[in-house]
Amino acid sequence: MSELTQPELTHLGVQAIRDGVAAGTFTAREVAEACNAAVADASALNAFIVTTPDHALAAADKVDADRAAGRELGLMAGVPIGMKDLFATNGVQTTAASHILEGFTPRYESTVSQRLWDAGAGMLGKLNLDQFAMGSSNETSYFGDVVSPWRRNGSTAGLTPGGSSGGSSAAVAARLAPAATGTDTGGSIRQPAALTGICGIKPTYGRCSRWGVVAFASSLDQAGPMARSVADCALMLQAMAGFDPKDSTSLDLPVPDWSGALNADLKGKRVGIPREYRMDGTDAAILKAWDDGIAWLKDAGAEVVDISLPHTEYALPAYYIIAPAEASSNLARYDGVRYGLRDLPQGANLQDMYAATRAAGFGDEVKRRILIGTYVLSAGYYDAYYTQAMKVRALVARDFAEAWDKCDVILAPTAPNTAFALGEKLSDPLAMYLNDVFSVPASLAGLPAMSVPAGLDPAGLPLGLQLIGRPLDEQGVLNAALAIEQRAGFTAQPDRWW
């Protein structure tokens, strides 16, 4: 038996668990049991749609047996993780937090989750999210809101953990899991990471296979890790990434040793500060954190340069054409015939059945986006909306390409506000969309981008800073994030109330 108590084990990160298991300080089974117990005690957070304690234990037992037999251990050996319920998992319900996929039990495993299991990770359960990853607060889930483990000082009001990877961010911040998978279409890894005081990285588009990931907007969707340190993200991303012939946009490139090459010395690096990101309506505390970040990166040896990304303000409206357009096409597959829900009213024909099934199976936000997407792709409007948005997307990408002449990495806030109250922005879809204003541009350009904690605001809520890198330069992003992490000294964690 280990010297560590169960709560102590749940406070360990990915690397610490892997190294401790490898060294025999504790067994993988002890870690899995500790995390399973933490998950079982945290139902008030509603972070999980289903829990899979047996999966975590079986994976742990295999790692312990491998170690006993002297076999080589994988990158994630003995690390129990949460799996966003957007990844198809063989034999385990996969819903995308929707009613239309309730009960869907894949007979195959997504490439990313398979890679994680092959690397020795185990699954604690499937994490709640915004329905079909559409949302920024985890309030569009059919399975209920996820509640952030964080609260404002002196308040018991329920706050959002961000979204769409809100189950992931809540579970990692609450120490239920050392890490979780996320997916990011317009900020769904970075924004929830920022709102809950953890790290999360979206790699370059194409690094992680989309095969087996429920599709939202295929030209934007990317998987990535969410964890409590930059080093843990680097390690887990290494396990998740890699070429997959089953994804036509997968990059056929070797996976670098990001973890081994981490280096917070930024001498000779130039950090760009985009002036267009100083927007009205941004919290003062976030602007202060941004200034702190600039000082920290200078302290790490970087040169700070002013840059311009002139089409920044148009990124969000372009995104809210492109993403719904792709979603309306991708979600056409939910027809009540092949999988998921079927609503067959008395006497209904096939067309009626489609329409009834989709009316019953999709939530309001999903319907809104399908309708917007259908409209902007329809005859007569396609050029005015969709083609125009794709041209603006090219201009947003060109802004970044030109910025790379002047800098190596970009520092900006992750989100324009800290965690807001559940229900606060629900009545106004547009106000919710504005939460993605700083994260969407990098998504449109397919660039690697990461959120790292920078401190707390006066109400005691976490603030995140975003680093955006050149295509394929995850290392540059991770290194700059590491320099911030080392100087921010962010050790705050939510007080346990659940």
Binding site: R107, D352, R368, I370, A397
Partner: protein
């Protein structure tokens, strides 16, 4: 541009989402708010700009032209394909009668 109730009803029908009057009434102002927001894209000068088709340019791969090149995505897995169907009958997907 803005949409009226008839237009939203038409879009909903194209998208195969059944919507009653109350749902349409709710949706019209919400869609108009979003369309009003994206309208600003019209201000951008896109002269000479090609619409983006891929963030990372790469040639489209072709798989080897062999049966079951990848067994996972190949054929011969009828039962697995039908396993989640709401109505699977005699090895097929069951649907309501489509010929009157």
């Amino acid at each position: 541009m803005s949409v009226d109730k008839a237009t939203v009803a038409k879009i909903a029908s194209l998208a195969r989402i059944s919507m009653d009057d109350a749902a349409l009434d709710r949706m019209v102002p919400e869609l108009n708010k979003i369309l009003g927001f994206v309208e600003q894209l019209g201000q951008v000068d896109v002269t000479g700009v090609e619409p983006m088709t891929a963030v990372i340019a790469q040639p489209l791969r072709l798989r080897d032209d062999v049966v079951n090149a990848d067994p996972l995505t190949g054929g011969g897995v009828r039962d697995a394909v039908l396993a989640n169907a709401p109505a699977a009958e005699h090895g097929f997907f069951g649907v309501p009668k489509v010929i009157e």
